[in-house]
C-alpha cells in the first residue's frame, strides 16, 4: 500500500516510474513533495503554499521525468529549456510558485545559458538539480559535472574537462539563494528545498543524486547502498565543512545553504514598471 504522501502527491496511475533500481531520483522527488507538503500545511501566511498554484517544470532527461509523476500543474518541456519555460510561466502569472526539476546536463550544458541568465535576473524560481554526474537517459555519457579522470561512454579514457560546480556557477551568475543537498541527507535536503521555495528570488538547490546503473558501474563505485554510504560520509554540514582544512576537505562536500542575498526580484520590479506605466496612461 503506497504511503499517504505517495497517495496524495504522486500520479499513482502512472507508476511505477522509469528510474532504475537504486537511482537517487526517487528520493529527491520525494524530498520535493515533502517540502511542498510542509509548506502547504504551513500556518504562516507568508509561506503558505496553495497546491493548485504550484507548477513543476522540467526539461529532458532522467531527472525531468519527475514532473509527470508529481500531481501538480506540471510541464515537461524540451532539453535545456525548462528554466526558460519557467521564466515565462512565472512572469505571466507571478502568483504561481514555480519549481524547476532539472538534471546536470539539462541545466548546465544545453541549458547553461538559461540558468545563468535566470540567476542574473533573479526571477523567483526554485531550481532543484538532480545532479548524478552523468547523462543517464542516453546511457551514460559524461556530463559537465563528471569529475576529471572519471569515465563515461563518451569518455572511455577518462574525462579531461574541468567539471562545473553548479551551485557556485549559479551564485556567480547572481542567484540569490544557493544550497547543496544529496540523496542520503534527506531531512536537510527537504529543508533546503523548502528554504529555496520560501526565498523570494532565484534559488538553486544542487542535489547530488546517485546513478548506480551508469555512473556507478562505469566508475566502479559499488552498488546503490555503497554509493549512498559514500554520500553519508562525504556530505558535511556547511558549518563544519567551513572549519575543515583544505586537506580535510578532499573528497568531502558541504551540505546546506551556500549563499543567500536579498537582491531585487524580477517580477516585483516589473510590477513597479507596470504600475508607473499604467498610472502615466491614466489607467490606474
Amino acid at each position: 500500500m503506497p504511503s499517504d504522501l505517495i497517495q496524495k502527491y504522486m500520479r499513482i496511475d502512472h507508476l511505477p516510474h522509469i528510474w532504475c533500481a537504486g537511482c537517487g531520483n526517487g528520493t529527491l522527488t520525494r524530498d520535493v513533495a515533502v517540502a511542498i507538503d510542509e509548506l502547504c500545511n504551513c500556518s504562516d501566511e507568508k509561506f503558505h503554499l496553495d497546491r493548485e498554484k504550484v507548477v513543476i517544470v522540467s526539461g529532458i532527461g532522467c531527472s525531468s521525468r519527475a514532473a509527470g509523476y508529481l500531481d501538480f500543474n506540471s510541464i515537461h518541456t524540451t532539453h535545456g529549456r525548462a528554466i526558460a519555460f519557467a521564466t515565462g510561466i512565472k512572469i505571466a502569472n507571478p502568483e504561481l510558485t514555480v519549481v524547476v526539476i532539472t538534471g546536470d546536463g539539462d541545466c548546465s550544458a544545453i541549458g547553461g545559458n538559461h540558468l545563468i541568465h535566470a540567476a542574473r535576473r533573479n526571477v523567483d524560481l526554485t531550481v532543484v538539480v538532480y545532479n548524478n554526474n552523468i547523462y543517464g537517459m542516453t546511457g551514460g555519457q559524461y556530463s559537465p559535472t563528471t569529475p576529471r579522470g572519471e569515465k563515461g561512454t563518451t569518455a572511455p579514457y577518462g574525462v579531461i574537462d574541468q567539471p562545473f560546480d553548479i551551485a557556485s556557477l549559479a551564485a556567480g551568475a547572481g542567484a540569490s539563494f544557493t544550497a547543496r543537498g544529496d540523496t542520503y541527507h534527506v531531512r536537510s535536503t527537504i529543508d533546503l528545498i523548502k528554504a529555496g521555495i520560501q526565498h523570494k528570488g532565484f534559488s538553486l538547490i544542487d542535489c547530488y543524486s546517485i546513478c548506480p546503473t551508469y555512473y556507478g558501474r562505469k566508475n566502479k563505485k559499488g552498488d546503490a547502498v555503497t554509493m549512498l554510504m559514500n554520500q553519508k560520509n562525504s556530505g558535511i554540514s556547511t558549518e563544519i565543512y567551513q572549519k575543515l582544512s583544505e586537506e580535510e576537505k578532499k573528497g568531502k562536500y558541504a551540505i546546506g545553504t551556500l549563499s543567500e542575498s536579498n537582491s531585487p526580484e524580477f517580477t516585483t520590479e516589473y510590477q513597479k514598471i507596470i504600475d508607473r506605466a499604467m498610472e502615466k496612461e491614466g489607467r490606474k
Partner: protein, 382 residues
C-alpha cells in the same frame, strides 16, 4: 466603423495589432529587421498590464512564450532568419503540446547571417517545415502596414481557435515600411479566445477532444486542474505513451485540425482574376510590385490578374486549382530561389506553364521586370 488614422511602421503595426488581439506577454531577442517589434512591446506592454522580457537568446524566447501561454496569457515573439532557425525545436513543442502562440519572422536575406538588413522571402519553406517531424502549420504573410495590423489579430485568433502556433511571416519590406493605418474600432473586429477546458476537474482527460470540436480546451496553470503537458506523444491525460495507436490518432488529429479547416483558415487576395488568362502569383513583399505590373498590363489590354495567398500555409491548393482552367500560364514572383514556386507547380501539375522571377541578392523585383515577363509570356502563348 469608427477609426483613427496613424502613420506607422510595419513592425509597429504588428505590435499594435497583437495588443489589440489581446497579446500581453512578449519574449524576444534583438535581431534586425525585427527589433522594433521588441522595442515596441517593451514600451507598450506595461501600459496594458502586460509583460515584456528580453531573453538571453531565441531558444529562451520561444520557450518563455510557450510557458506564458500555458499560464493563460496570449503570447508572442518576434525574430528574423537566424533567430527563426533557433526557435524551430520549440515551435514543434507548441504544435504537439497544442499551446497557442504567435511567432513573427521578419524575413531577411540569407542563408546564415546573409545580408542582414536586406529583404527576402527565403524563410517561406522553413516556416512550413522548419521543425522536425510531421506537424500542422499555419502561416500568414502581410503585404502592407495596414494589413500587418489586421492580420496580427487574425494570427492570434487562429492560434487560439486551433491551439497551434501561428507564424506571422513578415519581411523587411513590410516591417520597415511606413504608411497610414486606419486603426479599426475595437468593436469592429472579432477577438477569439481559447476555449478553457471543462474536464470535470480531472487531469486524466485534458487532451480528450470534446464531441464536435477539433481541439481540447486549455485551462491555464494554476486554475485548479492539475494536469501534465509534454512534448512526448501523450494520451488523453497528457501523460507520455509509447502506444502506436495513440501516436497515429493524435498526430493525425493535429494535421487534420488544420487541413480539414482550410475553408476557415485559408485567405487569398485576387485582383482582376475574373477574365484573366494569365496570373501573377505573389505574396507578402512582392505583392505591390505584382499589383502595379498587373494594372499596367491591363492598361495595355492584356488579360492578366493577380493571385496572392494571404494564408501562405496551409497552401490554398483548392483556390488555385479553381483558376487553372481559365489560365494559359502563370508567373510566380518571390524574393527567393523558388520556394512558393514548388507549391504552384505542384498544384498546376503540368496543366499550365509556370514562369518565374526570383531574387536572392537582397534587392527587390521592380514592377517593370514583371510587366516585361508578362508581355513575353503572353506573346509566346499566342
Amino acid at each position: 466603423m469608427s477609426f483613427k488614422t496613424v502613420l506607422m511602421q510595419g513592425n509597429e503595426a504588428c505590435v499594435e495589432g497583437a495588443i489589440a488581439a489581446g497579446m500581453r506577454f512578449f519574449a524576444g531577442y534583438p535581431i534586425t529587421p525585427s527589433t522594433e517589434i521588441a522595442e515596441g512591446c517593451a514600451a507598450r506592454l506595461p501600459q496594458e498590464n502586460g509583460h515584456f522580457i528580453q531573453m538571453e537568446d531565441e531558444l529562451g524566447s520561444i520557450a518563455a512564450v510557450i510557458g506564458a501561454s500555458a499560464a493563460g496569457v496570449k503570447s508572442m515573439t518576434a525574430t528574423s532568419g537566424p533567430g527563426f532557425s533557433l526557435m524551430q525545436e520549440n515551435i514543434g513543442y507548441a504544435c504537439l503540446a497544442e499551446v497557442p502562440c504567435v511567432i513573427v519572422d521578419v524575413q531577411r536575406s540569407g542563408p546564415s547571417t546573409g545580408l542582414a538588413t536586406a529583404p527576402s522571402q527565403g524563410d517561406y519553406q522553413q516556416a512550413r517545415w522548419g521543425t522536425h517531424g510531421d506537424h500542422p502549420m499555419i502561416a500568414i504573410s502581410p503585404a502592407s502596414v495596414a494589413e500587418t495590423y489586421s492580420l496580427a489579430i487574425r494570427c492570434f485568433n487562429l492560434s487560439e481557435k486551433y491551439r497551434t502556433p501561428v507564424i506571422f511571416l513578415m519581411d523587411e519590406i513590410v516591417g520597415h515600411m511606413r504608411e497610414d493605418v486606419k486603426i479599426p474600432a475595437p468593436d469592429s473586429y472579432e477577438i477569439v479566445n481559447r476555449r478553457v477546458a471543462g474536464n470535470d476537474g480531472a487531469y486524466k482527460f485534458v487532451y480528450r477532444v470534446p464531441e464536435g470540436q477539433w481541439v481540447p480546451g486549455l485551462k491555464p496553470f494554476g486554475a485548479g486542474e492539475r494536469y501534465n503537458m509534454t512534448g512526448l506523444i501523450h494520451d488523453y491525460s497528457g501523460f507520455p505513451t509509447n502506444s502506436t495507436d495513440v501516436a497515429q490518432r493524435e498526430v493525425t488529429r493535429l494535421m487534420e485540425k488544420v487541413l480539414k479547416n482550410k475553408d476557415d483558415i485559408v485567405e487569398i487576395q485576387e485582383y482582376a482574376m475574373e477574365d484573366a488568362e494569365y496570373a501573377v502569383i505573389c505574396f507578402g513583399g512582392t505583392t505591390r510590385a505584382a499589383l502595379e505590373a498587373v494594372k499596367a498590363a491591363r492598361e495595355k489590354g492584356l488579360k492578366v490578374g493577380m493571385w496572392r495567398p494571404v494564408t501562405v500555409w496551409p497552401y490554398p491548393d483548392e483556390k488555385l486549382r479553381e483558376r487553372l482552367p481559365q489560365l494559359k500560364g502563370a508567373l510566380m514572383v518571390e524574393h527567393n530561389y523558388g520556394q512558393m514556386l514548388r507549391e504552384v507547380e505542384r498544384v498546376a501539375a503540368g496543366r499550365i506553364p509556370i514562369d518565374f522571377i526570383g531574387r536572392i541578392n537582397g534587392t527587390v523585383i521592380p514592377p517593370q521586370e514583371i510587366l516585361t515577363k508578362i508581355e513575353e509570356a503572353l506573346q509566346h502563348a499566342q
